[in-house]
């Protein structure tokens, strides 16, 4: 089955991004496809490459980047929401790309299920 994922909140402050990540891992393990993960609202903050969480905690951004690398998952940051909050090409982490909201609507159309994680 083909999944689209919407992440509404940034890293650490809310569990949304962690749950979305665990969901994606489990879906891939079960043989499903993650068509796209779209980061909107404060969710764009997951894509900063400048974050350095304490070494004994998870690194949310790197978790996503590794998932993208290992399983060719398309990680898309909303350009308008990112610009508002200071997530731009200059501080974008590897594995993410910036594009328009249309990519989210497209994910809603092209996938079998769209799953939202938020506050």
């Amino acid at each position: 089955m083909k999944f689209g994922i919407l992440v509404n909140e940034g890293p650490y402050n809310h569990q949304a991004s962690d749950t979305a990540y665990q969901f994606c891992k489990a879906a891939i393990e079960k043989g499903h496809e993650i068509f796209r993960v779209f980061f909107y609202y404060d969710g764009v903050n997951n894509a900063t490459r400048l974050g350095e969480p304490p070494s004994d905690d998870r690194n949310v951004t790197k978790n996503w980047a590794k998932l993208a690398e290992d399983h060719k998952v398309d990680l898309v940051v909303c350009v308008a929401a990112g610009l508002r909050r200071g997530i731009v090409e200059g501080n974008l982490a590897p594995g993410f790309r910036i594009s328009g909201l249309g990519q989210l609507i497209e994910a809603g159309i092209q996938t079998d299920r769209l799953v939202t994680f938020g506050d």
Binding site: F23, D112, R113
Partner: protein, 102 residues
Amino acid sequence: MSTLHTVNKSPFERNNLEACLGHAQPGDAILLIEDGVIAALAGGSLEGKMADAAKTFKLFALGPDLAARGLDPARIVAGIKVVDYGGFVDLTAENKAINAWL
């Protein structure tokens, strides 16, 4: 085909679960995730409400979120089934649409 509803906030703090229960259709699946698993606690003031909900809906709670909060699966409301992330994925596949009550 039925809908999967997800609830990720404590019913003591927010109205998400209440809103979900007010709109879900009989037979729909409701999955408690993140702080939403607090609704599953047995012996508290919401137990009756949850036991009633279990008669109309298929109730689930995410095991890793219960464990994170130190909530014993043996002390949750009867009729709530515990699933892992794989079970969460299965629920999304088995239902037609997913309604996240944020």
